[in-house]
Amino acid sequence: MASITFEGNSYRCEEGQSVLDVLLAHGVAAPHSCRSGSCQSCMMRVETGELPESSQAGIKETLRVQGYFLPCICRPGDDLTIVRPDTDTMRLEATVSHVTALSDHVVCVGLSSQTPISYRPGQFINLFKDDATARSYSLASVPDMDGELRLHVRRFANGQVSTWIHEALRPGDRVQLSPPAGDCFYLPGQAEQPLLLIGTGTGLAPLYGIARDALAQGHRGPIHLYHGSREPAGLYLVERLQELAQQYANFRYFPCLSGSEVPDGFLPGRALDLALSHAPELSGWRIYLCGNPDMVKLARKRVFLAGASMREIHSDAFTHQAA
């Protein structure tokens, strides 16, 4: 049975328990969110002891060699002494420049920083409400175009962080965030390759960033963006995306509604079904999938079976659950 030493206390780690489980069971205020090894908000550093290799999955090399790992997926075989991450490695500070409504339920949060934050559109950050509470949001902005970080935040009825963002966050507020991470972004190099982007809800955020980034980098192949929701109110940036489609001949935008109300200009059906009916054969395509976790999971399988190579399927690293 491994033991975990943290801030002067030692805790027993029972069979099957993660390091995060152990810390939370003893009342330690450990930041966490996804609990599945993807959002990285629980990241800590090991000082002594051998980590299971899998507990460092997805962490960038420079942090990995320093012993950073993910407590939520770490089931240790060895005794560990662990510490909180160094604040300056793991936290950046930014100022809220604006909170702008995009629809009845979604706001765009603009964040600026004195020291430029380097990122690729489609990566994500964790936004901290306080030391122990963070949520992951994808970056909808493009560095050269927008000059600030932009997040799309949907309000969830019981979401601690989203309620705080919608109700309390004001321009000028200082906030803390984690450095951008994740590998769901556009890579130049195959400018003729067709790109298929499918998203639901605020899964549009990374796709909006990726599509504009690809266009700005001179992507010439088709870029097809499907944004799905049940109700018309769930779709946003509709006019902006229609303008983009007029501006670029290779960019097409399909707003999809799966509910019964489908006004003119919208497609009836689910985004995934519509995308696959338009492009049933996906070998050679690059695919980006973001939004509802069940949709993303199903879509990964269906686009793979439709011929997309596993290496060409990118998806949000985290889930957009009630937050």
Binding site: R300, F304, L305, M310, I313
Partner: protein, 122 residues
């Protein structure tokens, strides 16, 4: 002895090509797809690659005990000889699609056959 099976087939690059084809066949095969459905696809693809590398005689670190432990939860869900046979069929079909000579396919099948009892927990 000259080149081994893994080298003759083309080593790791060949396996990378084979993984997509093989995994697509397995997921589309109603006899066995349910065993592969409820897992993370990336992780699953990594496992398929490890499997193909082993089947093709490449470097692998799996012992018989690993095979037993790794499949015990599937045996508990009813994994049996018919499913093992289905995987073997998909493997052969994948290699045929890649124009691997029949003699090499037979070698790969023999390597897999050697793991049957461990995989099925017999």
């Amino acid at each position: 002895m000259s080149k081994n099976l893994f080298e003759q087939i083309g080593g790791e690059p060949a396996v990378n090509v084979a993984v997509d084809i093989f995994y697509r066949k397995v997921l589309s095969d109603d006899r066995i797809s349910h065993f592969f459905d409820d897992v993370d696809m990336e992780r699953q693809a990594a496992k398929q690659k490890a499997f193909l590398t082993m089947a093709l005689g490449g470097p692998n670190k799996y012992s018989g005990a690993d095979m037993r432990r790794g499949h015990a939860h599937l045996v508990a869900r009813g994994l049996n000889d018919s499913h093992f046979d289905a995987v073997m069929e998909n493997l052969a079909a994948t290699l045929q699609e890649l124009n691997v000579p029949p003699a090499l396919i037979a070698q790969a099948a023999a390597i897999c056959e050697g793991t049957r009892n461990d995989v099925l927990g017999k």
